[in-house]
């Protein structure tokens, strides 16, 4: 019986990476991976244990659950408790602590909160129960935004009036730009996310090379892809080059998926958005266009922008910017654990703190 996926010659990749890092031995290199799935892969495949000492892979704000502001949870909770709507969401959001409550608490109080694996399930429930208002939480980057956009178009075309979206979708590029413009943050290069890049295209990162003079490589989601991406980055750094490269060519093109970009554009408009830990970033969110106002929870229930809030002592903001490792936060593994999370980075399995907690132990190798 086959076991795990066949092994590419990863030993050679690791050897190459070490040789490249040796040539830069006088300088510590910080590469940021901007995707929660990359974060999990880096930990679950033991990639961190293979990296040379002067190469640090740090996690960025790429976990959609982690960057959704706490006030958004409270808004969803109020809808479930005060407006008798059924809130439908992807799983990780249920346990995220808001400012005053979580959707898990709402469920305990009798509020209707259910987990779906696909937005189509939420549409199906809306069709089966036409008298029940369904509020779907639109969370995620350009990866999940097209599905929400398509669902809104479908609901409008088919007259499914009880399907409503509370939107917190985000755009990754403005967040990367904000990080690069922050003088406190030192990032030598980016490992760009595969899934988002399928939609936005590798060309979207050109500004990182042209304006910010840093290498950026798009990589897929297994350990080999990430190793290949790191080798490309280090090769550029050794050669003194800065360019955008793509080692995930089987899925990611230069232009991305034009159809998905078009549908995002038809339904959403870029707007200022609040990121948990990072604050307000211009053009980094996606608001539902007025043409879909009848299906927009912000309009229907007259909701303002969600409040941002960080619990006392929580250093998620610095973790999300790659300024500290999760273990440097005093709450980490003490008051803040996956069973009782304080900060958002501990809730989602793709959160830096959760991945760090799961795959590391004090005193353990790597």
């Amino acid at each position: 019986m086959p076991v795990k996926s066949s092994k590419i010659d990863t030993k050679n990749l690791v050897k190459l990476l070490n040789q490249l890092c040796e040539r830069l031995a006088d300088r510590p290199i910080k590469v940021m991976e901007v995707c929660g799935t990359h974060t999990v892969t880096a930990h679950s495949t033991g990639l961190h244990s293979l990296l040379p000492d002067n190469l640090q892979l740090i996690s960025g704000p790429g976990c959609p659950v982690c960057v959704t502001p706490a006030g958004f949870i409270d808004q969803a909770a109020r809808l479930a408790l005060e407006h008798d709507v059924q809130v439908m969401t992807y799983g990780d959001m249920v346990r995220v602590p808001g400012i005053k409550t979580s959707l898990e608490d709402v469920r305990r109080q009798g509020g209707k909160v259910s987990v779906v694996y696909s937005i189509n399930d939420a549409i199906a429930v809306a069709q089966q129960e036409p008298n029940q208002k369904i509020v779907f939480l639109g969370i995620g980057f350009e990866t999940t935004a097209p599905a929400t956009a398509f669902a809104l178009q479908r609901a409008q075309n088919e007259g499914i009036k009880n399907f409503i979206v509370l939107c917190a979708h985000k755009r990754i590029i403005p967040a990367m730009e904000a990080l690069l413009n922050d003088p406190a943050i030192s990032i030598d290069a980016f490992l760009a996310p595969g899934h988002v890049s399928v939609i936005i295209g590798a060309g979207a990162y050109d500004f990182i090379a042209t304006q910010h003079r840093r290498p950026c490589v798009v990589a897929g989601f297994d350990g080999e892809q990430m190793l290949m991406g790191l080798v490309q980055i280090l090769t550029q750094l050794v050669a003194g080059q800065v360019k955008v490269e793509n080692v995930y060519r089987s899925r990611v093109t230069e232009q991305g998926n034009r159809q998905a970009q078009k549908i995002i554009d038809e339904v959403f408009t870029p707007s200022m958005s609040i990121w948990r830990g990072l604050g307000a970033i211009e053009q980094s969110g996606l608001n539902i266009r007025p043409a879909f106002a009848d299906l927009d929870a912000r309009n229907i229930f007259d909701l303002g922008p969600p409040e941002d809030f960080e619990p006392s002592g929580c250093r998620c903001a610095e973790v999300l910017k790659g300024l500290i490792q999760p273990s440097e936060c005093k709450l980490f593994a003490q008051q803040c654990t996956p069973s009782a999370p304080v900060g958002a980075c501990m809730v989602s399995r793709e959160g830096s703190c959760s991945a760090y907690y799961k795959y590391h132990k004090a005193g353990a190798a790597s």
Binding site: G46, L50, T143, Y359
Partner: protein
């Protein structure tokens, strides 16, 4: 759950056997040694590919006895039936109990049936208890494991958890995965007969999968596993990837972990592979001296920790 047991239950009830938290309790009588265990089954849906709650209730208890090296002697069966459960459903499940007991060569000798009002149970809950005869001179507890002992499993991991989840979550591509639910006592008895005290410890990695159970066993030793040697079906791995699950945390109901002396490893493998429930047996790692630490040598060539899974596993969103 572990917290609840350790903080609330054991301080109030704990005798010597309960504190051990073994799969079965050991009862030393004047002329014999018995293993005694109990387990409740609340699986939903009641029927899943490869089995149902009835087969599960027999196998789960038989395997808890088997893990202690006991030969199952008799089972009790308690049914909590929700009002309105179709009689045909109950009949199918009872047939399944009977078939599984027959396969395990164990008799259901006592039982109880309660009907509760609608809404007080989810169609059917079953509790089974079992007694078995233990070899009086041998015990298979984690305390016996020494660094260097070889870790063997009798087949592919994650089948049961994914079979149940594929029905529950409607994952069509995983619908070919069948639960591995099976009574393992006879297979285990063959290993004990063949290898005797060279078998140090056994454990059936049910809830929490390999991750939870190996962490429980890692008291005086640690374990290091090799990812590439752990048998797993591609469709199980695919479903785990889709749901964002680590296959090492997914439940099994027909698997046994064996810790054996290095020089008995190949004999153990031969005995297992000769048995229909052990045809895919494999050495997947070994014990080492890094106490309380379970590590994985990854396919990528790296290393990471395998920690006890926490809470309810939820799917990721992108």
């Amino acid at each position: 759950m572990q917290e609840l047991i350790r903080q609330e239950i054991i301080p109030r009830l704990g005798g010597k056997s309960l504190i051990e938290l073994a799969d079965s309790a050991r009862l030393d009588l004047p002329h014999t040694t018995l293993a005694f265990t109990t387990d409740s089954f609340v699986v939903w849906p009641l029927f899943f590919p490869g089995g149902d709650i009835g087969r599960l209730a027999v196998c789960g208890t038989v395997n808890d006895l088997a893990a202690r090296g006991a030969k199952p002697l008799a089972l009790s069966l308690a049914l909590i039936v929700e009002e309105g459960l179709p009689m045909n459903t109950l009949r199918r499940i009872l047939k399944s109990v009977s078939d599984a007991a027959c396969q395990a060569q164990v008799e259901v000798v006592t039982g109880d049936t309660k009907v509760v009002e609608r809404g007080s149970a989810n169609q059917l809950f079953i509790t089974t208890s079992g007694v078995g005869i233990m070899p009086s001179n041998l015990d298979f507890t984690p305390g016996r494991i020494e660094p260097g002992d070889v870790l063997i499993i009798n087949g592919a991991i994650g089948d049961h958890g994914i079979a149940v989840m594929s029905v529950r979550e409607g994952i069509s591509f995983a619908s070919s995965v069948k639960s591995d639910v099976a009574p393992l006592a006879q297979m285990v008895q063959k290993v004990i007969k063949g290898c005797g005290p060279a078998v140090k410890c056994m454990k059936d990695p049910t809830r929490g999968g390999l991750a939870a159970n190996l962490n429980e066993m890692a008291q005086n030793v640690g374990f290091v596993l090799e990812e590439e040697k752990i048998p797993i079906r591609p469709e199980v791995q695919g479903a785990c990837d889709l749901l964002g699950l680590d296959a090492l945390t997914v439940a099994n109901e027909g698997k046994m972990l064996f810790l054996v002396c290095p020089d008995s490893a190949s004999k153990t493998l031969d005995i297992l592979r000769d048995h229909p429930l052990g045809a895919e047996a494999a050495v997947i790692g070994r014990a080492d001296d890094k106490k309380r630490l379970v590590r994985l040598k990854t396919a990528l060539g790296g290393e990471r920790i395998i920690d006890t899974p926490y809470g309810r596993e939820l799917p990721r969103i992108c």
